[in-house]
């Protein structure tokens, strides 16, 4: 019912607008088009300057209202993100200045040089000096931004520190799977053809590789505060993206092409709860690359904690290999040389 009502109002608004528009056309013909033109011109010139003033005021208000809801209002949760934040602020300063100058000039000129009967437009086809200035000045500013951007870019995308903790994260529609390399700090070899989620091998790990035997699998990422972490990122079906907004980091997960990304968490989850004043705060992993109908729900969680908490969590986990073997053969398998038979079953 209300749908028809809205439709009726809209139609009415259309008809009224149309009638007014038509009437004003007739009036302008009667009044003399020259006169009507001048009147319209004054109105539009005024509206431009009003738009400038109100627009800037609205932009200010929008900032007051929403700045606190953005990430700029809270510190970056990683060392790398601090560089991003600095770069962001610097770029805001430069572009903000240019924005103000050019928009004010645009609307001010539109208002000031509106049509006047006596005004004669100034014939000014070119001026090499002016043109040189506004070629060179932007180029200098951009050089600074590019230079600084490159400096940080290479730092952030360069090799991870040797002592970085390794964590593998794999995306599939629509969740994340996490693997830790265990004590040997080496991930067991993978072969996608071995993937068999119903038998505990959702990642397609090759159990014949002894390095896989102490690998721990999880659904959450746990990290140690202050310790660099290197994520080894993969995907099984389509392209996903590991988006870590609080750390200001992001990297695609591409099937068949492993990617990496490293950073150093600065605050534990508990500390971030205090900093943000949000007792429900969690570090979230968002999928930032369109991956299908459940894309919006592809959420992961990162827990940043102290070394002790991390160790306690890690010791509570059983290596996936052990879990699989226990499930496959009721009798515990003592040594890794006896893996070939159960493996055949797995396949």
């Amino acid at each position: 019912m209300s749908g028809y009502f809205i439709l009726a109002i809209l139609t009415l608004a259309f008809v009224v607008t149309f009638q007014i528009a038509k009437a004003s056309e007739y009036v302008s013909v009667l009044k003399g088009e020259e006169k009507a033109f001048r009147q319209n011109n004054r109105i539009n010139a005024f509206l431009f300057i009003a738009f400038l003033v109100l627009g800037l005021a609205a932009a200010w208000w929008c900032n007051e209202e929403y700045y606190k809801k953005t990430l700029m209002a809270q510190p970056s949760a990683s060392d790398q993100g601090e560089k991003v934040d600095f770069m962001l602020m610097l770029t805001f300063a430069v572009t903000g200045l240019v924005f103000l100058i050019t928009q004010i000039l645009l609307f001010w000129f539109a208002f000031k040089y509106q049509y006047r009967e006596k005004r004669q437009a100034f014939y000014f086809p070119h001026n090499n000096k002016l043109e040189l200035i506004w070629t060179v000045v932007p180029a200098i500013f951009l050089t600074v931004l590019v230079g600084l951007g490159m400096f940080y870019w290479f730092k952030m995308t360069g090799d991870a520190p040797k002592d970085a903790q390794l964590v593998e994260i794999t995306g599939k529609q629509f969740n994340w799977m996490v693997r830790y390399p265990g004590k040997d700090n080496v991930f067991g070899r993978k072969n996608y053809r071995l993937t068999d989620a119903s038998n505990g091998n959702a990642l397609g790990v090759d159990w014949e590789d002894a390095a896989s035997h102490d690998d721990v699998e999880a659904t959450e990422v746990h990290l140690v505060v202050g310790k660099p972490v290197k994520l080894v990122i993969g995907a099984q079906d389509v392209i996903h993206d590991v988006g870590l907004v609080h750390f200001r980091m992001k990297m695609d997960a591409v099937p068949g092409i492993p990617t990496t990304m490293w950073f150093t968490p600065k605050y534990t989850t508990a500390q971030m709860k205090e900093i943000t004043g949000n007792k429900d705060f969690v570090y979230e992993i968002s999928c930032d690359q369109m991956c299908g109908s459940g894309h919006y729900s592809m959420r992961g969680v990162i827990v940043v904690e102290t070394q002790e908490e991390f160790d306690a969590w890690m010791t509570s986990k059983k290596p996936q290999y052990v879990t699989v073997k226990e499930a496959a053969a009721p009798a515990p398998v003592a040594d890794s040389t006896a893996t070939s038979k159960p493996l055949a079953q797995l396949n």
Binding site: K69, Y115, V146, D237, G292
Partner: protein, 604 residues
């Protein structure tokens, strides 16, 4: 120019015919079919492109209203949606599949069918022969084919909206493997094949058109119309056509390989995939390869959309400020620089795909380099209106709006082109805000400016100005109200292409803003319908144009009769003696290009 008489023999007949109207009218009377359907007249083909583009714009705009309903009111159910769309909106709520189909088609339609075909197809066709002084395009037949291939592409794309598994839904960039695997998404089934076939047809259309535009501009200019005397519209369209001809074939190759991967079992883009538990045999392909092929067109595409708008805005600003465009050669030079750089920046869409960071550095440099010619253009536009005598015709309003939006959206490009910041802002609402302002709305403003400015030439009537003013102010204010706040969502890291944010700790703080944006979007959409109404109403009932040159402009299209026939000029094609921008020179308001240079005239 001798080619006039050779290629346009029929025009001579038309001239003779005009002088002898009562004689043998019926001999040259065109049938409905040849005049309105399979026309080879560039003006009619331009109108065909424009009206088809408008129909697509309504569809694409409506789609955005629908998915904004979901974003703005995620809790509410709208029973009328179920009435209209059945299972796609079960219970009056837009399903996820439907949401992604809407988003994908909105992007595809607006980028390709409206802002490429509808914008440059329209104005290239209408303006090139009229402004360079030619009777028609180099090949009227190819030109007609160009439209009809576009029409075919439209039919296929439109048909894809009605198939059972829905249209393509992997985003307008259709990255494989998502778009290659029917198992991964409903939209990657038959709908994706339709999408690819439609795009292939579209590319054929674009190439036929582009080659025609280039050869016409290079070969059919009237006597005296040297390249440096061409209006900036023609320069912009020329560079646009060059961009399209060189980059669209690359997209075609990407699309064909994707069709092979989908239907013939090849592995160009597929490697080591397990989808929904199924282990696929494909190995050795690269999903990133597609992104390179796509963006090698995809980035020039942005300029294919934007350059014609820039050209028209330059022209309209100059005419209505009653001043020459400032720095004509710098304007041409910056168009050229943008055209070259457009080919060298595509990987800035791929900073976080695992691209070699060293390679990424070059793309940062080249990307930010584009800011220099862009800055030149902005400052030159500002100087053009400085100390002018500005008439706020509807076209002029949209031209000024374009400059404002181009500044706003261009500056945020400096953030995104810098890879360090792109790590953080990539695929967030910051990107959505950026490209909608600079490529979407700004180009639309260029298009509106062009429609309002050249409507009198197209139909011999004016659009209603009151409706035009309402259209401009609501759209201009609305565009900022919609897209300005989105930057804040982007700075909160909110990812794009999410149909619902309520389960996220990090992104659920913007429910009120989303509602606001959705409401404004609906108002703005309604006002576009007002424009469409104004357009069709004015074709038949608009105030008639009484003077041959209603805007007091210098360019050649205003030397034709008010309603030019096939062949454009009844007599000889006028000769050109000067550039297009002698406004306010030597105390004269304007001096048409056809007027010989006087003995005492000052040089420019």
């Amino acid at each position: 120019m001798s080619s006039e008489t050779i290629t346009h023999g029929h025009a001579v007949q038309a001239t003779a015919h005009a002088h002898d109207e009562h004689g043998h009218d019926h001999h040259h009377e065109e049938s409905f079919l040849t005049k309105y359907i399979f026309s080879t007249d560039h003006k009619m083909i331009g109108k065909q492109f424009l009206i088809t583009g408008m129909i697509w714009a309504i569809i694409g705009g409506l789609f955005s209203v629908l998915f904004r309903l979901q974003l703005g009111y995620p809790e509410m159910s709208f029973p009328f949606l179920e009435d209209l769309f059945g299972k796609w909106a079960a219970g009056g709520r837009i399903t996820n599949e439907f949401y992604y189909a809407l988003v994908t088609m909105h992007g595809t339609i607006l980028v390709f069918f409206v802002l490429t075909a509808g914008l440059s197809g329209t104005f290239a066709n209408i303006l090139i022969p009229l402004q360079i002084g030619a009777r028609d395009m180099a090949s009227g037949f190819l030109n007609m084919l160009s439209y009809w291939f576009f029409f075919l592409a439209s039919v296929v794309m439109f048909a894809s909206l009605f198939i059972q598994t829905g249209p393509a839904s992997g985003g307008w960039t259709i990255y494989p493997p998502l778009s290659a695997l029917g198992q991964a998404s409903e939209g990657s089934k038959l709908g994706m094949d339709f999408w690819l076939i439609s795009m292939a047809l579209f590319i054929v259309s674009s190439l036929l058109g582009g080659l025609n535009y280039i050869s016409t501009i290079l070969n059919l200019r009237t006597k005296g119309m040297s390249m440096t005397r061409m209006p900036l519209t023609i320069w912009a369209i020329f560079f646009t056509a060059v961009l399209g001809v060189l980059s669209f074939p690359v997209l075609l190759s990407g699309a064909v390989l994707l069709l092979f991967d989908r239907n013939l079992g090849t592995s160009f883009y597929l490697s080591e995939i397990v989808v929904k538990g199924e282990i696929l045999p494909n190995e050795g392909g690269s999903a990133i390869l597609f992104q390179h092929l796509f963006w090698f067109l995809g980035h020039p595409e942005v300029y294919i959309i934007l350059l014609p708008a820039m050209g028209m805005v330059s022209e309209i600003l100059s005419v209505n400020s009653r001043k020459p465009i400032f720095g004509y050669l710098a304007m041409v030079g910056s168009l050229f620089a943008i055209c070259i750089l457009a080919f060298l920046v595509w990987a800035h869409h791929m900073f976080v795909t695992g691209l070699n960071p060293f390679l990424g550095a070059f793309f940062v440099l080249l990307t930010l380099l584009i800011a220099v010619p862009s800055a030149i253009k902005v400052f030159n536009w500002l100087t053009t209106i400085w100390r002018g005598n500005i008439r706020f015709t509807p076209g002029m309003l949209f031209a000024i709006g374009f400059v404002s939006l181009f500044i706003s959206g261009g500056l945020t490009g400096i953030f995104l082109g810098n890879s360090t910041l792109d790590i953080h802002l990539h695929d967030t609402y910051f990107v959505v805000a950026h490209f909608h302002i600079v490529m979407g709305v700004a180009s639309f403003f260029g298009m509106f400016a062009g429609v309002y400015h050249w409507f009198p030439k197209m139909y011999g009537r004016y659009l209603n100005t009151t409706m035009a003013y309402i259209h401009f102010w609501v759209t201009f204010v609305g565009a900022y109200l919609i897209f300005w706040p989105m930057h804040y969502q982007g700075l909160a890291g909110m990812p794009r292409r999410y149909s619902d944010f309520s389960n996220w700790q990090s992104f659920n703080q913007f429910a009120d803003m989303n509602r606001f944006i959705s409401t404004v979007a609906m108002v703005v959409f309604a006002v576009q319908l007002l424009f469409v109404f104004n357009f069709f109403y004015s074709i038949f009932k608009g105030r008639k144009v009484k003077s041959q040159n209603p805007w007091g402009a210098n360019t050649l299209e205003w030397t034709t009769p008010i309603n030019p026939g096939h062949g454009n000029w009844p007599g000889d094609i006028p000769e050109v003696h000067r550039w297009a921008y002698d406004y306010g020179k030597d105390g004269r308001e304007f001096i048409p290009q056809t007027e010989p240079v006087g003995a005492n005239e000052s040089a420019h």
